[in-house]
Amino acid sequence: VRRKPGQLVPLETAICVCAANLRRNGTLEFHGYEIAKRLGNENNRRLLTAYGTLYRALGRLEAMGLLQSRWEDPQIPARENRPGRRMYTLTAAGKTAAQEARKAAREPMPKRAARRPVPA
């Protein structure tokens, strides 16, 4: 999808909205796989967002200041015997972006002009 200056591509918008939903449910931080899974569930898709697409989008959102990230305390993954997670948080700017996206989704689409009947 070609990016227009100052605008988010649909995946980035979806990530912001999904992160805002998680936040409302009390999950302040999320990791890459978690958001991919949520996005899949919300869109009723079994195939999750591809690795490259997802992490590139997360990186862009972080660069735009809509997300913040940190690596979790290494003792947690060491205790749980798994790789460390990079935890993302939605920033205030990210919340605003999510609200705007929700608002835009609620607004009715502009009506198309009715087609004129072609005279026989």
């Binding site: 990791h31 591809a50 490259g52 060491a78 790789p83 460390g84 990079r86």
Partner: protein, 415 residues
Amino acid sequence: MSSPLMRLAVSCVRGWTRLYTWRMPPASRQTRRAEIESDVWESQSDAAGDHVLGSALHILLRLLIGIPDDLGWRAEQAAKAGTLTQRSIALSARVAGAALFVCALWVIDADAGRRRPATAAAGPAAVVDQEIEEIMAMRAGNVALPAGRRLPLLTAGIVATVGGSMLPQLAAQLPPIPGNGPAFEVLSIKPTPTGLAGPTQNQIQPGGRFTATDTPVRLIIGQQQAAILIDDFESGTLANWSINRNGAGGWFVYANGHTPPEPSRSDPNVPFSVPDPPQGKFAAVTDMNGPGTRILYREVRLNGRYMLHVTVFYVNAGEFGSPETLAYDINETNQQFRIDLVGTSAPVDSLAQGDVLANVFHTSPGDPDRREPADVTFDLSRWQGQTVRLRLASVDNRGPLRVGVDSIRLEPIAR
């Protein structure tokens, strides 16, 4: 992850991630690899109990669909770093072409699978029944059977296309070495026993490179070694390290000398104030809100003669004391930071003579309260060919002793 199919899928993801992050700055490379590794682990863990074939295909599909974005990301990073060259653009184009070819294979195969029932409908009744069963199975969500038939074709396609198109390009990026033998660096040239200079001595100069063939001169040669970065913590994690701790606090990665990495575990009475990471964005540091022992360690294989380099700093709020123990809960002062080379089978907190191979660095009573980042070096050539454990241990029971390390590396020692 016991299934070979799942192992293959995970290996493809790891291999591809290594490939497209190859020769990137360590920070970006390690971050991306760690992130993908975490995602793959999570998806495997999440898929435990699901159909193995379906899960493996899912991982492969996520890999394949993301390839254009991986390449785009790599190009973005290269553009940022100013290293986007014509050769890397050509390489990216080759990889993109390979990815497109694999996708085309997938589409053709999927399309062939879709047409099969219609063709079979004209055949005998038994074939129609079988096709109906397959369609019913697909509608019930069980798509494993048709996908399983496609797997060999896809795997062959991926291996042949990606491997065939990329390996020559990757090989072309290595420094050119004439001939096929191992490469050596010429360190010095001795005259032949007769004292006469042979003709080849005029052609090979110290500092030059040549490939071992039937060279008719006596040379003192050393196999070329590169510096090895053990860790500069630019991944933002302590991945590949093990931590052993007792009491309060621990080892952390930090980015700002005045922001504790974990405020809830930092002593508010003696605020966290250490030098900023001396190299790059991150370094490793200890922080605490009480007495404790914090040990960071990992094993290091020494395949040659190396000099260990570590950037070391600390800020101490108590008085140094160095008893021969790493236990913090003793009556006497134990306030020390030490870096040791330890045997791999030794207990991790042992200071016994047989266990500690060598001490690289240690604080002593009377040392200044603050050490700014400075390089500590230690000759490891005695342990050439061995695996040793590098242990960084900090103990405090008289106030916070915050110690930090960065840029831990092995520099080859010339003979």
